[in-house]
C-alpha cells in the first residue's frame, strides 16, 4: 500500500475522476522520497443538541519511524483544521502555510451544507494536508502529527495546552503596532521585490478568478440554450418526409455538442476555478507572511534604535540584539527558501492547470468536429446531381 509506485494514488474509497487527478496536488521535487500519504474523504453529518457539523475521515499511511503505527484513521471537523493552521503559523511565522477553504461562501449560490459545498471543501482540505505533508519543514511539525494521529478526546485535551487566547491576542496587538511603525526601512531589497511582486500578483490573480467565473457562467448559459435547440429540429422532422432524416441528423449533432459543452464546463469547475481560488487565498497568505517578517525586523530595529540612545547597559542590550539578529536571519532565510519553493510550485500549478484548460477545449472542439463531419458524410452520400443549377438563385 505504501509502495513507491503509488506516489499519487489514494485510498480507493475516494472518487477519482480523470480531471480531479490533475487537481490533486502534485509535488514535483523528489516524489520517490514521499513517506507520508494522506487522504480526506467520507464527510459525515453530526447532530448534537447545540449544533450540526460535518466531520471528514483522515486516513494516514506512513513509513516514518517517529510514527508509532503505519496507518491511522481519525475524524476531524473544520474547526480542527483552523486550529492546525493557526498552530503552524505560530510556530513558523515566516513560512508559507497553505490556504484553507473559506468558512463561508459569500456567493450565495451554495447552501451551507449542500453536497456541492461539502465536496468542494473536502477536496480543498485534502489539498491542504497534502501540501503540508510535502513541505520540507512543516511535515515534521508536532501539531501536524497529533492532528493526523490523535483520537478525538486526545486532540481536545492537547488543544487546551499551549499559549492561551490572551497571549495570542498579545501577539496580535504587537503585530498590529509594529506593522504601523516599521520593519520597512531596513528591509532587504529582496523582500521589497517580493512585496511588489505579491501586490501585482494578487491583483492579477483576483482578476483571473473573476474572468474564470464569467467564462463558466457564459458557458452554462450557452448550454441552457443549446438544450432547447436540438429538439426543435426533431419536432420539425415530424412534419417533413424528404428532409426528415437530415433534420434528425442535425438534431442529434446539436445534442451531442450540447453534452460536450457540459463536459467542458465540468472541466472548468473541477480544475481552473479551484486552483485560481487557492492562489487568491495564497496571495493573501503571502502578504501576511511578508508582514510578519517585517514585524520581526521591526522588533530588532526598535531595540537597535533604543541602544543608540543608551550609553550604559550596552552589554545587556547587545545580547538581546544578538538574539534578535539571529531571529531575523532565520526568518529571512526560511522565507527566502519557502518563497523559491512556492514560486516553483505556482509555476507548475499554473502550467498544468492552463494546459489542462486548453486540452479541455481541444477535446470539446474535436468531439463536435467528429459529430458534424460524420453528419456531413451521411448527407453527401445521397446527394443527387442537380440539373438546372443555374435556375436556382
Amino acid at each position: 500500500d505504501t509502495s513507491l509506485a503509488e506516489v499519487n494514488s489514494f485510498s480507493p474509497s475516494m472518487p477519482i475522476s480523470p480531471s480531479s487527478m490533475i487537481n490533486q496536488y502534485k509535488f514535483e521535487d523528489e516524489p520517490e522520497l514521499r513517506d507520508l500519504f494522506i487522504t480526506v474523504d467520507d464527510p459525515e453529518s453530526h447532530i448534537t443538541a447545540i449544533e450540526t457539523f460535518i466531520t471528514y475521515r483522515i486516513v494516514t499511511k506512513t513509513s516514518r519511524g517517529e510514527f508509532d503505527s503505519s496507518e491511522y484513521e481519525v475524524r476531524r471537523r473544520y474547526q480542527d483544521f483552523l486550529w492546525l493552521k493557526s498552530k503552524l503559523e505560530e510556530a513558523h511565522p515566516t513560512l508559507i502555510i497553505p490556504p484553507l477553504p473559506e468558512k463561508f461562501i459569500m456567493k450565495g449560490m451554495v447552501e451551507r451544507f449542500s453536497d456541492e459545498f461539502i465536496e468542494t471543501r473536502r477536496k480543498a482540505l485534502h489539498k491542504f494536508l497534502n501540501r503540508i505533508a510535502d513541505h520540507p519543514t512543516l511535515t515534521f511539525n508536532e501539531d501536524f502529527k497529533i492532528f493526523l494521529t490523535a483520537q478525538a478526546w486526545e486532540l481536545s485535551s492537547h488543544k487546551k495546552q499551549g499559549p492561551g487566547l490572551l497571549s495570542r491576542m498579545g501577539q496580535t496587538v504587537r503585530a498590529v503596532a509594529s506593522s504601523v511603525r516599521g520593519g520597512v526601512k531596513n528591509r532587504p531589497e529582496m523582500f521589497t521585490e517580493m512585496n511588489d511582486y505579491m501586490e501585482t500578483f494578487s491583483q492579477k490573480i483576483n482578476v483571473l478568478d473573476k474572468i474564470a467565473h464569467r467564462i463558466y457562467k457564459e458557458e452554462r448559459e450557452y448550454f441552457n440554450e443549446m438544450k432547447e435547440y436540438g429538439p426543435i429540429h426533431t419536432l420539425w422532422s415530424a412534419s417533413e418526409e424528404d428532409i426528415a432524416d437530415s433534420l434528425k441528423g442535425v438534431a442529434s449533432c446539436i445534442d451531442k455538442c450540447c453534452k460536450a459543452t457540459e463536459k467542458r464546463m465540468a472541466g472548468l469547475s473541477e480544475n481552473l476555478l479551484p486552483i485560481l481560488h487557492e492562489y487568491v487565498l495564497y496571495s493573501e497568505i503571502l502578504m501576511g507572511v511578508l508582514k510578519r517578517r517585517d514585524q520581526i525586523q521591526a522588533e530588532l530595529d526598535a531595540k537597535v534604535d533604543a541602544l543608540a540612545n543608551k550609553k550604559t547597559e550596552k552589554d545587556l542590550f547587545s545580547e538581546e540584539i544578538g538574539k534578535l539578529e539571529d531571529k531575523v536571519e532565520c526568518a529571512n532565510n526560511a522565507l527566502k527558501a519557502d518563497w523559491d519553493r512556492w514560486k516553483q510550485n505556482m509555476q507548475c500549478d499554473m502550467r498544468t492547470t492552463f494546459t489542462n484548460v486548453a486540452e479541455n477545449n481541444l477535446h470539446y472542439y474535436e468531439e463536435c468536429l467528429a459529430t458534424w463531419e460524420s453528419f456531413l458524410a451521411s448527407q453527401t452520400v445521397d446527394l443527387h446531381v442537380e440539373e438546372d443549377s443555374e435556375d436556382r438563385p
Binding site: 501585482t200 448559459e221 412534419s239 499554473m350 502550467r351 463536435c368 443555374e390
Partner: protein, 402 residues
C-alpha cells in the same frame, strides 16, 4: 425551363444607396434604393460582352410587384420578399433598417427574389415583371393600369370563406396545416438560434479578457512571462473569431427565413382555393333554391316558408299572369346560373390542377434548398470547430512552455 427568363438574362441587385426624398404626405424621408443590373446572356456566347442595363428600385416597388403577381397568379406559390424589418435579432445586430449589415442582407434577399421569379416557368413570362427589370420610369403607372387591385380578394371575404366552406379539396386542407406547422417550427427555430448565437458570442468574447491580464501578469514573471504573453495573444484571436462565424450564420438564418415567408405564400394559394370552392358552393346553393322556387310557383304548392307566400295568402293570391312572369324570370336566372355554375366548376378544377402542379414544383425546390441549407450549416460548424482546434492547440503549446 428552357424559356425561362433566368436563362436568357443575367440579373443582379448589385448596389444599395441611401436616398432622401419626399413621400406622399410631402414629408422628407430617408430610404434605400437598390440597383438592378440586367444583361442579356445570349450575346455572351458569341464571345461578345453584352451591355449592362440598370435601374434603381426601392423596397416599396418590390412590394408592389409582388402584390401584383400574387393577385394575377393566385394558383402560383409566389416567392416571398426578404423581411421588411429586421426580426429574430440577437443583441449584436441592430433592428435599424439603415444598418449596413441589414441593408446588405436585404440586397442579397431582393436579388434572390428576382432570380426566383425569373426562373419560375409561369411568372418569368409576365410582362410587368419584365418591365420592372428594364423600365425605370412609368412602371408604377403601368402596374396600376392593369387594374389588379380590383381583382384582389378582400381579407374579410377570404376569412368568411375559410370558415364556411364545406367541401374543400382535402389536399389543400392538409397543405394549410403543413404551412401552419412549418411557420411555427421555423419561427421557433430562428428565435432559439438567435439566443444560442447571443450566448456563443458571450463565451468567445469573455475569453478576450485573458489577453490583457496575461500580458500584465507576464511583466512580473521571468520564466512564465513569454508563455503567458503569447497565450494571451491566442485568446484575443479566439475572441475575435466569433464575429465572422456569426456573420456567416446570419446567411443561414436568412435561408430559413425565406421558407418561413414561403409558408404564407402557400397559405395564400389554399385560401384562394377555399374562396373559389365557397363561391361554387354558394352558387350551387343559390341555383338549387331558385329551382325550388320555380317549382313551387309552377305547382302552386308552398313547401318552404316565405314572406311573399304569407303576404299573398293574407292579401290575396296573385294573378296567373303575375305568376307566369315570375316563373319566366326565374327560368332565365336558372339558365344563367347553370352556365355560371358550369364555368365556375371548370375554373375550380383548373385552379386545383395548376395550383397543385406548382405546389409539387415548390415541394421539390423546398426539399432541395432546405437540405442544402442544413448541409451548409454543418459545414459552418465544422469550420468553427477547426478554428477552435487551431487556437487552443496554439494556446496549449504556449501554456506548456510556462
Amino acid at each position: 425551363m428552357e424559356d425561362c427568363l433566368a436563362k436568357k438574362m443575367e440579373i443582379t441587385v448589385s448596389e444599395a444607396e441611401k436616398r432622401t426624398g419626399r413621400n406622399a404626405m410631402n414629408m422628407q424621408e430617408t430610404y434605400t434604393a437598390y440597383l438592378i443590373e440586367t444583361r442579356a446572356v445570349e450575346s455572351q456566347s458569341e464571345g461578345q460582352c453584352a451591355p449592362v442595363d440598370s435601374l434603381w428600385r426601392r423596397y416599396s416597388e418590390f412590394e408592389l410587384l409582388r402584390n401584383y403577381l400574387s393577385v394575377t397568379y393566385p394558383h402560383i406559390v409566389v416567392p416571398p420578399l426578404p423581411e421588411k424589418r429586421a426580426d429574430f435579432v440577437w443583441h449584436k445586430l441592430s433592428a435599424d433598417n439603415m444598418d449596413p449589415d441589414f441593408v446588405e442582407r436585404r440586397r442579397i434577399g431582393l436579388e434572390n427574389f428576382l432570380l426566383r421569379v425569373a426562373s419560375h416557368p409561369v411568372l418569368c413570362q409576365d410582362k410587368i415583371f419584365y418591365l420592372f427589370l428594364t423600365q425605370e420610369g412609368g412602371w408604377k403607372e403601368m402596374v396600376n393600369e392593369t387594374g389588379f387591385q380590383l381583382k384582389a380578394d378582400s381579407r374579410l371575404k377570404a376569412l368568411n370563406a375559410t370558415f364556411r366552406v364545406k367541401n374543400p379539396d382535402k389536399r389543400f386542407t392538409e397543405l394549410k396545416h403543413y404551412s401552419d406547422e412549418l411557420q411555427s417550427v421555423i419561427s421557433h427555430l430562428l428565435r432559439v438560434r438567435a439566443r444560442v448565437a447571443d450566448r456563443l458570442y458571450g463565451v468567445y468574447k469573455v475569453h478576450g479578457n485573458y489577453g490583457r491580464v496575461f500580458s500584465e501578469w507576464s511583466a512580473i514573471e521571468k520564466e512564465m512571462g513569454d508563455g503567458l504573453q503569447s497565450a494571451g495573444h491566442h485568446m484575443d484571436v479566439y475572441a475575435a473569431s466569433i464575429d465572422d462565424i456569426l456573420e456567416e450564420e446570419e446567411h443561414y438564418a436568412d435561408q430559413l427565413k425565406e421558407y418561413l415567408f414561403y409558408a404564407e405564400a402557400l397559405r395564400a394559394v389554399c385560401r384562394k382555393h377555399e374562396l373559389m370552392q365557397y363561391d361554387l358552393e354558394m352558387a350551387a346553393q343559390d341555383l338549387t333554391s331558385k329551382k325550388q322556387q320555380c317549382e313551387e310557383l309552377a305547382t302552386g304548392t308552398v313547401r318552404t316558408f316565405s314572406l311573399k307566400g304569407m303576404t299573398s295568402k293574407l292579401f290575396g293570391q296573385e294573378t296567373p299572369e303575375q305568376r307566369e312572369a315570375k316563373i319566366k324570370v326565374l327560368e332565365e336566372q336558372i339558365q344563367e346560373g347553370e352556365e355560371q355554375l358550369k364555368s365556375k366548376n371548370l375554373e375550380g378544377r383548373d385552379f386545383v390542377k395548376s395550383a397543385w402542379a406548382d405546389i409539387e414544383r415548390f415541394k421539390e425546390q423546398k426539399n432541395h434548398d432546405l437540405k442544402e441549407a442544413l448541409i451548409s450549416y454543418a459545414v459552418m460548424q465544422i469550420s468553427m470547430c477547426k478554428k477552435g482546434i487551431q487556437v487552443w492547440t496554439n494556446a496549449k503549446e504556449c501554456f506548456s512552455k510556462m
